[in-house]
Symmetry: C2
Subunit: 169 residues, 2 copies
Amino acid sequence: MPLSTAAQPAAPPLKLSAWLPYRLFIVAAQIARPLEIFYGERFGLSQAGWRILATIAERTGASASEIGRACALDPFAVSRGIGQLVELGFARRTTAKADRRFASVTITPKGQQAFGEIATLGRAIEARLLASLSGDERSRIDAAVDKLEGESARIEQGGWRSLLERATS
Amino acid sequence: MPLSTAAQPAAPPLKLSAWLPYRLFIVAAQIARPLEIFYGERFGLSQAGWRILATIAERTGASASEIGRACALDPFAVSRGIGQLVELGFARRTTAKADRRFASVTITPKGQQAFGEIATLGRAIEARLLASLSGDERSRIDAAVDKLEGESARIEQGGWRSLLERATS
DNA sequence: CATAATGCTTGCGTTATGCAAGTATATGAC
DNA sequence: GTCATATACTTGCATAACGCAAGCATTATG
């Protein structure tokens, strides 16, 4: 047993290319790129715009806060994204009848058309990704990403302070 | 059998929350957040700055283009990131003796110290993530992410045009 | 009915990104 | 040598994204 001056068990040096968060980030960024370029130059959509479009394609008439929850955007980004969609003629913004503080964002036919085009590319990207995996790996990845979604949400929620607390729990 | 007007096999509507690229993006973003906040407010580092610091911590004396390759940054971002590290006293920039067009970026003790602090948090984050998975899942995720890295790189390389080509190979 | 809370929007300063152009060095043709 | 070209990196600037304070309209509360 090494007479340790510090109690740390010789932390490995964190090689970026082997560090899971970095690797996931790279994969996500590389995948997202072609789609962003496509909807950017084809429709002048921002990332927020695309996400909101996808959200209201699935659930038209959603309020801004529902949209924000559904696609992980803060209220500012949602408001601006909706504005963009309205300008492009992809969405209409009205107020909900029940509670007039809430917006009601509905997709237009033109918006559905655009969504359809982008979704085609999106499905192609996903298909290419899944094609590189075996059927077995696909279901496992699915389950693992489920867990990672949950755990990463908790990590973000806790913030860095709770991550550096050594003695607790 | 539905008399289909179009020959398409009824594409599923692309639900954002079930679409693998989006899910990976969310995981990556949620994980990255606490670390970014940490090195941002603790050292005034940008994301590029952090990545470059991690790169030269591993391979001090690297050139700008080597750094760019190692951490997926374009030359502009690398140059500015190095500038930031130099300003913070985390790195020194000299020219390589062999070919004076190449930079040689070395990490300083202060930079190593900062890197150590950030790496501690980085390891904690990775540990939390891995703790949510079984040992079996970890190795499978590792292998799957390997494949996804490769395939997503090819996808990005090809661009959206090659993804929408239906008839070809 | 005054106060507070909620949902959303706008304005504005800061920061990041993308790209043209520039500098410095090295290489190859003649 | 020296002139054109290529390479490695840097800088400047225009544009876009982000973060947040403050605002408006509407509804809930005491």
